[in-house]
């Protein structure tokens, strides 16, 4: 991609925003976001992530995306995973071992049920949503 102009940056923002918003909407199967900061990785987030990917593949759930992110702040309960799928509230799971990751796919993604003993509260509201005044 070449250098962008102001106009192109604005267009790119609109497209990227629409893409982010589509997540968790009915058009897609949802997102599973894995905290992959150093704290998460040290607690085994890589295994958690690969288990999620394998489990989704095994069950043919190719429309659910697994993505990495940084630290969610809940270092006492790493690895942490946020699950956003259509029809369910977005929740953060903590202490997601590979076994818990399998249960998330089976019970939450397929069964539309929350898992006992692993839900944690989001530490803070999202300041950027609704978006701050769109940049010009």
């Amino acid at each position: 991609m070449g250098k962008i102009t102001l106009e192109e940056l604005r267009e790119l923002r609109e497209r990227a925003r629409a893409e982010l918003a589509r997540r968790g909407a009915d058009a897609s199967g949802g997102d599973i976001i894995v905290g992959m900061g150093t704290c998460g990785l040290a607690a085994g987030a890589r295994e958690t992530m690969s288990t999620l990917v394998e489990e989704l593949n095994r069950r043919g759930l190719s429309n659910v995306r697994v993505r990495p992110t940084g630290c969610m702040g809940l270092c006492h309960s790493e690895p942490t995973v946020e699950v956003r799928i259509p029809g369910m509230p977005a929740v953060i799971y903590g202490k997601v071992t590979p076994e818990v990751a399998q249960r998330i796919v089976e019970e939450h993604v397929l069964g539309h049920k929350l898992l006992d003993d692993h839900v944690y509260d989001r530490p803070a509201p999202d300041l950027m949503s609704p978006p701050a005044r769109p940049g010009k």
Binding site: L6, A16, G37, P68, G73, P123
Partner: protein, 593 residues
Amino acid sequence: MAYTQFVLVCAGTACDSCHSRAIYERLVEGVRAHGLADRVQVVRTGCFGFCAQGPVVKVLPDESFYVKVQPTDADEIVAEHLVKGRPVRRLLYSGPAPAAAVTEIPFYQKQLRIVLRNCGLIDPENVHEYIARDGYAALARVLTEMTPEDVIEELRRSGLRGRGGAGYPTWKKWSFTKVVEADVKYVICNADEGDPGAYMDRSTLEGDPHSILEAMAIAGYAVGAHQGYIYVRAEYPLAIHRLDIAIRQARELGLLGRDILGRGFDFDIDIRLGAGAFVCGEETALIASIEGKRGMPVPRPPYPAVRGLWGRPTVINNVETLANVPVIILKGGDWFASIGTETSKGTKVFALTGKVNNSGLIEVPMGITLREIIFDIGGGIQGGKRFKAVQTGGPSGGLIPEQFLDTPIDYESLAKLGSIMGSGGMIVMDEDDCIVDVNKFYLEFTVDESCGKCAPCRIGGRTMYNLLTKIAEGRGTVADIEQIQTVATAMQKASLCGLGQTAPNPVLSGLRYFGDEYRVHVKERRCPAGRCRALITYTILPDKCIGCTLCARRCPVNCISGERRKPHVIDLTRCIKCGECFQACKFGAVQRS
């Protein structure tokens, strides 16, 4: 049929001890009795960190937050809220308003994420996700609508102060650099986070690297610089990796490099790796290190704003400071200044660690109290032990005892208590921690990290450390305590840089608030917390020991002997005082004295 409502019952340790299990069971029972079992799911959760108000129950998706719920309240929650859709008002949390009068904070949430706004939400390796959340919109606004003076004025209104430790107003730094006439100027991001227990900057770089790049470009525009350096320690490989990716992506998009966004402004950024010396967090030492010299501070003035990197005017800001900048540009300086206290605006990120239940990376408005951080967000002390002290500011900070937990924290109030805001490490200690031992631990760190250039730090630190060792080993005298005081004060006054000036803080605050504990060490040759090994002995009380052999099996040096079902004996000549037997004994037969 799919669930449409979810009732979350906190099953953390604190709530669990307040009948949260009974609440859970009655909710399940109530949901079944009302025929809601196929559309309402009752779930037990991990700790919600609001333990003083527990047990806590939250209903999704409407986010009703119930506190101090009793098992008898379960039926009402089911009958009113779940059946009729009317939240039970008397149980909704209505505690004191958050420290900041900011509408963005729901009334029960203590945290506000400005610096960490994207951390844990976006994929840090995908620039599109950053852009989707207004990334580079601040840079675009600055380049199209604002003069460099406007940018600095916005920062002045925001009241943003340096988050690296000293709390110097950011706009002043920028302004001083801007007014100096020079053909070349630089922007440096100080990512040399080095204090034990602190990882705020690492997490920000790992979770949202583009926010730093954007802020540095804004700084470059404001002061007239075209080159930036991020000085990050080599021990942060993931942060470096993600910064590398981010810089490459930004260059590809033309958000770094020549003629950014077609506005005729050039700015580029390179990474410089530090070798992990604590002193290189000091700005003049950091600059020396980038220049390829040994990382040692030089006297100021001249400040880097006037003569910095390669003798050129240089703005140098810490990671967290920079991460605030794009939001200030987008939401306005006045918005930012509405958060926090009179003298300290905005939020502060802390790495909350130590003997607290919920350790983690937190961001809170300035003016929140330590009690709220430790007991609400942190969920209180592990194992129900008693709080003893919290050390803010890492090895450069001081100990704060229980009587000051309700102080609203900002730069000034912490300084008044003999501590500092520092970069944001916050280590919580309980009754099992010995102040002499803790002081010795941090001093060992600063002595080790002293660059040795100035005598007060090089000799003073070592002298203090030796005196502390003497006290911890039971050879100390009252005169030693007095000498520590003298040396510490001299170090504070005469050291060349912040490292030496602040290194005595933990010890001085220890003497100030826990002087009795020091005196017991020298007068009674006793360590009340049982941490100073030379001052404790473990013995087995024959009348309590039932001869279960557990202690003997746990002892790593096999110095406990005795027949099964007969009292055991510790061979004190071989005992290493590890305390394993003391922890293991279920009958209170091992005595520590």
